[in-house]
Amino acid sequence: MIPIILIKGAMIGAVYASLAVGFSLVFGVAKIINLAHTAFFMLAAYAMYVLVMVYRWPVSAAVGLLLIGMSILAVLVYLLFLDRIREHEGAVILVTVALGIAIQEILLLIFKSSFLAVAPFVHGIVELFGVTVPKQELLIFVVTMACLAAVLLFLNRTRLGLALRVTAQDRETANLMGINVKWVCLVSVVMAVVLAAVAGIVVSPTLTVEPYMWAHPLVMMFAAVILGGLGSLKGSFIGAFILGYTEVLVVFLIPAGSFIKGSVAMLIMVLILLVRPEGLYGVIFEEERL
């Protein structure tokens, strides 16, 4: 019982972590609340279905094309919609919600509301602590963790990463120091969308692909980001794993109540916020303190 909970929770937590870290990155750098974030995750899963199951492409070629396509899409979305209204929080929230709905409706039009499935990329199982784990689930964990490690390295070891961190700290000063803030925000949006796409690609074989699959991860991602503290990547990472384990615990301990897994996760988030309003790793800025 305990090993299987540990392993399943790690897998789900890893997916939420790659979504939450991307969201947190965009919020931290560009101050954009992207509610369409998991719609890109869903789009990647659908694209994977089309390329691999319908056109019978090899997985590696499909992944390559998809990552390039999603990056271009991210650039377009940023330049067409987000860049002009970046300063108005309410407008950003509404436009990104509308974008998510638009993506959902387009997918509904094309694929109807049928449940689709993608074949696993790797077959076979491994024995871990007496639990049989499909290799696909192991792949999810390894790939998402590798991507997050790459993001961390990028942020800490490159000049562009430094620019991102500087912009996150203080936009005006960064602008004065000669950093092209618009370009930096664009980079952060593209990175987040690629992270979401990677999560969507590796998860697609284990989920049923359907047009409403973005809602649950969206809510869980929010909860993870807020739990960890808005704008803190470390916090989002840890929050995602807390919520992943919560979800798995609810599913395993109360099998009849698995439909309330979202509610329990939200309740935990609110309870933690009552004790620590700034989240686990959040910082309260001087002008924000009450």
């Binding site: 929080e89 509404l94 509308a98 638009a102 039009l109 807020i226 439909f259 309330i260 309740l267 009450l290």
Partner: protein, 368 residues
């Protein structure tokens, strides 16, 4: 007699002279006359829902537009009231006119609960946290299927009245009463209530509001309870018109809809949310002719409107039609030449050749 004459004069001076108010006045009168033109049950039903959702959207505006608490879980208030009202009616057999206030009071209690974290969180943080409350409530609903009907919801709730036309007049009267109350309560220029200006101050800068001695916690709680109360009235009415309360009243779109309506009409004006509902809701009904494209078109319209008119329709129209007097700050229609109270010319022609230093001194004097 004198009283009536004075009222007529007030209508002439304070309503018809200001284009925005004149439009609202004509709109109100025509709302009362609609059943004379048609009593088609479908149209009546659409109009009834428009009235109910106007209350709902305006209640969001009090919280989101005026106080700046961008609540993304407003469906929680609506849902609590809808379910409370339904349960009171079905399980306790209370009459409709006891159920709706009961639901609204319960909604105030829910508002107080939701306000607790909001007192410590701000801005975007609160927006994202408030998203959680409808989801938690859905979990509670599913956990007690005996009382709430679980996934099926409550059915067979008593209807307010079977006659569609009288139902329309009832909802219209309630809508006008609620919207006017909210409008008066949040009016920042009001000489009776302080509430409007304080809420705007909290919206602009909460720390400064505290610094000048406003008990922001008390005012935020007040805003939450006003908003929750009116959302609850809308929820109770809705449930007693549709006769069904279901978990769909708590889903994500139900909470986003009032935000979309209000943003479309114009935030921070109660009138804006009414305008938003009265344009977008019938538009959505028309789109039922193309059911596949309905939501897609809706999403497209939202994006287009926010990109083109980020302030909303009401602000846009008001900028075109109205002009404040530079001296006495009275609102005038934009086509007047001079102010209707103090006679100051509204449009000043710039002289072609003012000497530069003199202009500078007068400017600085004005600033001083």
């Amino acid at each position: 007699m004198r009283f009536i004459r004075r009222q007529f004069r007030r209508i002439g001076q304070e309503i018809l002279a200001i284009p925005g108010r004149a439009i609202a006045f004509v709109f109100l009168i025509s709302m009362f006359l609609v059943p004379l033109a048609t009593s088609d049950p479908y149209i009546m039903k659409v109009l009834i829902f428009m009235n109910i959702f106007a209350i709902y959207a305006a209640s969001w505006d009090v919280l989101g537009g005026f106080t700046g608490q961008f609540c993304m879980g407003h469906g929680a208030f609506f849902g609590v009231a809808a379910y409370t009202s339904g349960i009171l009616n079905l399980k306790l057999g209370l009459p409709v006119w006891a159920c709706i206030p009961g639901g609204a009071v319960m909604s105030i209690l829910a508002g107080m609960l939701i306000a607790v974290p909001s007192l410590r969180l701000r801005g975007v943080y609160f927006a994202l946290v408030s998203l959680a409350f409808p989801i938690i409530l859905t979990g509670i609903l599913f956990a007690f299927p005996d009382a709430t009907g679980g996934e099926m919801g409550l059915t067979g709730i008593e209807v307010v009245t079977r006659n569609k036309v009288s139902l329309y007049y009832i909802t219209l009267a309630v809508m006008i009463f609620c919207v006017l109350t909210m409008w008066k309560l949040t009016d920042a220029r009001s000489k009776i209530f302080r509430l409007g200006i304080v809420l705007l101050a909290i919206h602009e800068d909460e720390v400064s509001a505290r610094c000048v001695g406003v008990n922001t916690i008390r005012y935020k709680l007040l805003a939450f309870s006003i908003s929750a109360f009116f959302a609850g009235v809308a929820g109770g009415l809705y449930v007693h018109v549709l006769r069904i309360a279901g978990p769909s009243n708590l889903d994500l779109m139900w909470s986003f809809n009032p935000i979309i309506w209000t943003a479309f009409g114009g935030m921070g004006t109660v009138a804006g949310s009414v305008v938003g509902v009265f344009i977008l809701y019938p538009a959505m009904e028309l789109l039922r002719f193309v059911p596949h494209l309905r939501m897609l078109i809706y999403a497209g319209v939202i994006i287009a409107v926010i990109m083109l008119m980020p302030e909303g329709i009401v602000h846009w129209v008001r900028d075109k039609l109205e002009k404040d007097c530079p001296r006495c700050k009275l609102v005038n229609s934009a086509w007047r030449r001079d102010c209707r109270a103090c006679g100051v010319p509204l449009r000043v022609k710039m002289k072609t050749d003012p000497s530069p230093d003199r202009k500078a001194t007068t400017l600085s004097e004005e600033v001083a």
